[in-house]
């Protein structure tokens, strides 16, 4: 199994170098991706908990698998594999194909690496690798849009990296150690626990799309090649969540200052992003906002865990199922966007595509008996309980988010349907089994996610083990009414919107324009205050002095004095004066 661990990280890395040479074709590259992702997936499916020290690496690295990372490995591995295979077809005629696969595999390396890392050094390293490599995916389609998205992405990511680094530094300095096993407890014991928690939360939150640092996400996901969007939104976004789970002091001590903030942000995101997403017209943007919204639900769960450490084991189990099913479903939806383009104009395929999309959407919305419903139920069950206001909030929230999810994904389905009907953006590439198979796999995976990962072979923590709840009829009803309500809301708003004059679409990136405004204002203010100009900051005083001396060649004073000293009267007078002064000094 150790070899598998090694392979899981090394294979994508080696693969990335291999595809960099232009001799490997698209199909082969796809296979490389699939093969590279396989060890991780296998680890997720079959590995038992293990640790492997690589003492010479970085700060003294450890790699391993534990129950939590196993779940993440399963859907992450599957997503990467599916999307890799899918890319093999869509990238066939792309001139920058090798660059695409290079970054794809590099991001994959980072993603697997961070999931397998059992120390913060390695985690941070692979986290950064994934972040920077994904930039190549974001800007793959050149042009103004991707460029802007890339810039926003990289700025936000670096911000996140730095906050994360700060959090790690504080934690390690406070004695948390770099080992993941003891890290969270160490953070909990640190005197500045709240600060560390906040830094880690926001640092990882950039990747996880937490409000208010999510702004890159609605920009970057739509512009990337579709399979890349799928991994970005399905797998990489979960890296942030994974980081929270392993590094925040969840289950150790409450964070009374930061937890309410987290919950609030989560609530804001869950609703705000969904509403904002529903206003979008681009299907991938809508999906991106849906991701933000869904991640915000998980943020609320994290917040709940921060408030009530004793409930964390339950929340964790639910969260894992939730993340898994969302990962699969979002991947399926994104790939579906591409599939739809290839299916456009062909009735049979179109209908099948619509069905697949609807299935994935319903999974996310939590329609029983799909995986999403189970995730939601277990989340509700885990959070709700005595003396847990946040849990209550969560319990109340989940049906409400289901409404919103239905609205936003419904909008997505409508947009897709419209697009397919009008053959808009029809792709020249025919849908092949190479493309359909990955998509279908993901869709089905989404539906079956809960069962796929359960029951865990080993307990995730020492605390009581969450079980996969069976869905009763009542549960089904409870899960269905929000969906129905959502459909209704959507229908009404669509009807209303049709009667209203067409408004310009809300810009993707919502708060981003605010940030841009603020930063521009700061820069402008900085210019206005007229600090001494950079040219003068050089403080080149030494050459200045030198210049002034040399330029005084033109100045007459020194020359005149020197010349005067040469005249005999002055010289004689000076001589006499010195004699007298010397004598006087001795006498006095």
């Amino acid at each position: 199994m150790n070899h598998l661990l090694t392979l899981a990280i090394l294979l994508p890395a080696i693969g990335s170098l291999a595809v960099f040479s232009r001799f490997i074709g698209a199909r082969a590259s796809g296979v490389v991706c699939a093969v590279a992702a396989a060890p991780a997936l296998l680890l997720g499916l079959f590995a038992s908990t293990m640790e492997h020290d690589v003492a010479w690496m970085l700060l003294g690295a450890t790699f391993g698998v534990d129950p939590v990372s196993r779940i993440f490995l399963i859907f992450t591995g599957a997503l990467w594999m599916a999307c890799g295979l899918y890319s093999a077809s869509t990238m066939r005629s792309d001139p920058r194909r090798s660059a695409y696969f290079f970054f794809f595999l590099l991001s994959m390396t980072g993603n697997f690496g961070l999931l397998l890392a059992r120390d913060v050094g390695a985690f941070y390293c692979f986290f950064a690798l994934m972040t920077f490599a994904a930039y190549g995916l974001v800007v793959h389609e050149r042009g103004a849009g991707p460029r802007r998205a890339g810039r926003v992405y990289i700025v936000m990511s670096i911000l996140g990296e730095l906050l994360l680094l700060a959090g790690l530094i504080f934690a390690v300095a406070a004695g948390a150690g770099i080992d993941m096993a003891d890290f969270a407890s160490g953070v909990a014991a640190a005197p500045n626990q709240e600060l560390i928690t906040a830094l880690l939360f926001f640092g990882l939150g950039v990747k996880a799309g937490a409000i208010p640092v999510h702004v890159w996400l609605p920009l970057a996901h739509p512009v990337a090649p579709t399979p890349a969007s799928a991994v970005l939104s399905g797998a990489m976004i979960k890296a942030g969540l994974f980081g929270w789970i392993v590094m925040l002091p969840l289950g150790w001590s409450p964070a009374p200052a930061i937890a309410p903030l987290v919950v609030t942000l989560g609530l804001l995101g869950a609703f705000g992003a969904a509403i904002y997403g529903a206003l979008q017209r681009d299907p991938k943007t809508i999906l991106a906002y849906s991701s933000v919204s869904q991640m915000s639900v998980m943020v609320v769960a994290i917040g709940a865990g921060l408030m009530a450490p004793d409930r964390w084991p339950l929340i964790l189990g639910a969260l894992a199922i939730y993340a898994c099913s969302h990962g699969f479903a979002k991947g399926a939806l994104f790939l579906g966007v591409a599939v739809a383009k290839q299916a456009a104009g062909r009735d049979m395929l179109r209908r099948m595509t619509m069905m697949g999309l609807a299935l994935a959407a319903l999974t996310i919305a939590g329609a029983p008996p799909l995986g999403g419903a189970i995730a939601k139920k277990s989340l509700k069950a885990a959070a709700a309980g005595p003396e847990s206001p946040s849990g209550d909030a969560l319990a109340l929230l989940i049906p409400l988010t289901a409404i919103m999810t239905t609205v936003v994904l419904g909008k997505f389905i409508l947009v897709m349907a419209g697009a397919m009907r009008t053959n808009e953006g029809k792709s020249a590439v025919r849908l092949s089994p190479w493309m359909a198979a990955p998509w279908l796999t993901l869709t089905l995976g989404a539906a079956a996610a809960a069962w796929l990962i359960a029951p865990p072979t080993e307990p995730m923590t020492d605390a009581p083990q969450p079980t996969i709840p069976s869905l009763s009829a009542g549960d089904a009803l409870a899960a269905l009414w929000p969906i129905a309500l959502g459909v209704l809301v959507l229908a009404i708003t669509m009807r209303l919107a049709r009667s209203l004059p067409k408004a310009p679409a809300a810009p993707a990136g919502d708060l981003l324009s605010l940030y841009t405004l603020a930063s521009r204002a700061t820069v402008a203010a900085g210019r206005r205050t007229r600090l001494p100009g950079p040219a003068r900051w050089k403080l080149d005083f030494v050459p200045l002095v030198l210049d002034s001396i040399e330029q005084s060649r033109r100045g007459e004073t020194l020359t005149n004095i020197e010349r005067a000293m040469k005249t005999w009267p002055v010289a004689g007078a000076v001589f006499v004066m010195i004699v007298i002064t010397l004598a006087a000094m001795i006498i006095l």
Binding site: R563, V570, A573, V576, V579, I580
Partner: protein, 252 residues
């Protein structure tokens, strides 16, 4: 420049001059006062080496204290002074741009009166010089005085247009010029080689040696004086130096 400026400048210069005069005057006065005060404070009574010099006179080979000081007690100083004279000649040569006198033409005018006077005076001057040289042993006199008198004779020859030193060879003149310095040098080396202190004159032969050295010094001094007159820039202007350049340089 306006006239006003010129006036201003002149006034300023005058004011400066006045300041300078006052300062220099005050300085000089103070210096003078200092020296006077110092001299007044000098210890009284017989001081210095006069007595001791007189006491040791018997061993010096001469009977006059000054000559004894010059050529025995402190002959080293005298040697260096002779060296100064030699240097003066060299400086003149340097200014002339050459070390020889061949191109020195005698004075063009041959005044009959002057020629007559020269003929009359030269032997007398030579005789006087010899006397002065000999006199140094007992009374004020000696090589310097004798040399100067003899040098005056050379100057007379020059003035009257009679060829003299300028007709003897370059090497000969050099030897004449250097022979005084060489005399001391030989004495110094010889005394060292003889195992004496440098320039120590054995009491017995001191008088003779001094006379010999003095004679040679006289020759050198006389030649030096004559050459100084002959080779004076101005007799004919030295080639390299133009008056204009000198003035220009002086101003900067």
């Amino acid at each position: 420049m306006t006239r006003h400026d010129a006036t201003l400048r002149r006034r300023r210069r005058r004011a400066l001059l006045r300041v300078r005069i006052v300062v220099a005057g005050a300085g000089a006065l103070a210096l003078a006062l200092l020296l006077v005060a110092a001299v007044l404070e000098l210890p009284e009574g017989p001081l210095g080496l006069a007595e001791e010099a007189a006491a040791q006179l018997a061993h010096t080979g001469v009977d006059h204290a000054v000559t004894a000081v010059l050529l025995n007690y402190r002959s080293y100083d005298t040697w260096l002074e002779v060296g100064v004279l030699l240097l003066a000649v060299m400086a003149i040569f340097a200014l002339r741009g050459g070390a020889h006198l061949e191109n020195v033409r005698p004075a063009p005018r041959r005044d009959p009166l002057l020629t007559w006077l020269t003929r009359l005076l030269i032997p007398m001057l030579t005789l006087t010089a010899g006397y002065l040289l000999w006199l140094g042993k007992f009374a004020p006199g000696g090589a310097f005085q004798a040399g100067v008198v003899l040098g005056a004779a050379g100057a007379m020859l020059r003035l009257s247009g009679t060829p003299s030193l300028d007709r003897i060879g370059d090497v000969a003149i050099r030897i004449l010029l250097a022979v005084g310095f060489l005399a001391f040098l030989v004495a110094a080396v010889a005394t060292r080689l003889a195992g004496l202190d440098m320039l120590e004159l054995p009491p017995g032969r001191a008088g003779d040696i001094i006379l010999m050295v003095e004679t040679l010094a006289t020759i050198s001094i006389a030649t030096t004086c004559a050459v100084l007159v002959m080779a004076m820039p101005g007799a004919e202007s030295p080639p390299a130096i133009a008056a204009k350049d000198v003035r220009k340089e002086a101003r900067t």
